[in-house]
């Protein structure tokens, strides 16, 4: 199948190095300490953060750092075909683990000893790149909850189809079976905290693809920073003296 037309346009009309439209909104769950909705094109994800709060299971309490937990789930209505097992399947468990590890790497857990941070992410609409969208939503929610972080971790995926590197794959491109590189990136520290790929790629091409995904992460980071700054200014101006 042709994923990039001879004119250099993708199936949804984007250029190979073009991202889908991103949109983020803080404060989607009133009861949570921090929450956000993040959209990447038709992928829509909601994240809620509770904590730092008292550790629920005493045996897991750590005296020198916070416990970070994460739960990823997909809403039953998020995809066209009905899922058999909505919760507890292997895919969700794996993504939960990936998000937890990525977020744990950027949270300054040593500042919050004997406490626990719960991150809940749910996919409302799935159209490829849910992993990335979840990480971006979780970052926004964590920043909203006032949890100290080393840096804003952002994520973006990139792929390689029809001998072209493509940024931010959608569902059709994702299910083509080509390589799909998901990168989690700390823009300020210039470090990678997540790198996943589920196919083989020659080394030189891989570097290009990863570079592309990293650029995508930086673009997302700029956008997230804007939203956070606007939110902070708004809260402060409302609060007054």
């Amino acid at each position: 199948m042709e994923y990039v037309s001879p004119e250099g346009l993708r199936l949804d009309g984007r250029r190979p190095m073009e991202m889908r439209q991103i949109r983020g909104e803080i404060g989607a769950v009133a009861k949570a300490d921090g929450s956000a909705v993040f959209e990447m094109g038709n992928t829509k994800v909601i994240a809620a953060v509770y904590g730092p709060r008292e550790v629920q299971n005493r045996s897991q309490q750590m005296n020198d750092q916070a416990l970070v937990r994460c739960e990823y789930s997909m809403a039953n209505f998020s995809t066209g075909d009905r899922m058999r097992k909505p919760k507890g399947d292997r895919r969700s468990t794996e993504i939960s683990l990936v998000i937890r590890q990525t977020m744990e790497a950027c949270i300054l857990t040593h500042l919050l000893p004997r406490s626990q941070i719960d991150i809940f992410v749910q996919v409302l609409q799935a159209d490829g790149g849910t992993r990335s969208a979840c990480i971006n939503a979780a970052t926004l929610a964590l920043a909203d909850a006032g949890i100290p972080m080393r840096d804003l971790v952002t994520s973006c995926s990139a792929g390689y189809l029809n001998s072209t590197a493509l940024l931010d794959l959608n569902y059709v491109e994702d299910s083509a079976g080509g390589p799909d590189v998901t990168v989690g990136f700390l823009p300020k520290l210039d470090k990678v905290t997540l790198l996943q790929m589920d196919a083989k790629l020659p080394l030189d091409i891989f570097e290009n693809v990863m570079q592309l995904a990293t650029e995508g992460c930086k673009a997302v980071a700029n956008y997230i920073r804007e939203i956070l700054l606007e939110n902070t200014k708004q809260l402060e101006s409302r609060r007054g003296l």
């Binding site: 803080i26 404060g27 009133a30 300490d33 921090g34 904590g51 730092p52 709060r53 008292e54 300054l108 919050l112 004997r114 406490s115 920043a143 909203d144 909850a145 006032g146 949890i147 100290p148 972080m149 080393r150 840096d151 804003l152 823009p187 300020k188 520290l189 920073r225 956070l228 700054l229 939110n231 902070t232 200014k233 708004q234 809260l235 402060e236 101006s237 409302r238 609060r239 007054g240 003296l241």
Partner: protein, 327 residues
Amino acid sequence: MRGLQIPLNQTQKVRLQRALEKLESLSSKANSNASVTVADSIPVNYEDGILKGHGTSEFNGEITATICGIVERVNKLVYVRTLRARYKPEVGDIIVGRVIEVAPKRWRLDINSSQDAVLMLSSMNLPDGIQRRRTAVDELNMRSIFEENDVVCAEIRGLQHDGLQLQARSQKYGKLERGQLLTISPYLVKKRKQHFHHLDQYGIDLIIGRNGFIWVGEHIEARDDMVEEQVHKSEQHTTKFDITSASLEEQERTYTSLETRQNICRIANAVRVLSTLGFIISVEKILDTVSLSSSLNLGIHEMLGSEFYVLVAEKEAVQRSLTKEKR
């Protein structure tokens, strides 16, 4: 818009937006670039001996923020003050909490912090007001003082090795009854000299806990047990005889008049409106809002309608611009 999910018609929307924009323009002149987000660098003009406070870290020789908030500078100290975060305990703060567990010799309280607080049996006054060692009998009777889910007012005593200790060594602390507990974001509460307020005209006690828990309840006369003790002893003989009259008295004591209950609801709604709009919570603000609502002859439930939100926002904008002109 954060937290504000009320149906507004077109004119209300425009008015609210205008009021909020006015507020924004008023404050933006005061501190233009003090807001930072995670990983923003904080300019320090290459001064030596800068002290890094909360919410900051060092990266490549420059100071960066680790949280979203407002940069504050006190002499050489630079720190970031968070908005929207959990309550960070400070010694001496007056807080309101909810009992979640009765443990041996201690109660554990939820105070909206990163850890539960501990109120030791030994760090609170006994109901009879006598200073003595706590015995095993006292320990067994702990549930007669506070039970699970009771709302309690206390003071932060300090951070011991394994947790947050509270104390309640005065008559003004203790169990709160007959009222409403409201939970707001702690950044909306500013530290003041007074956190207990007796609103005489409404017959209401208002406790603005530093942890964002606000108590609105019926006014209860603070009894000084030490003085009353002697009176009480002489009375004891008489009261023991007629139990029936005592229980009647008890009933009367627990009855809250309709007017008081309405006042509680009105004040509680004022706090709800202010916190949803994200305005700082102080007694003056609350009373202003209450008097605004009663001067407009609004019913208590109408205070949570969209029109009142807009009115409060507009009033706040006018008030802030006035105080600004005075300065």
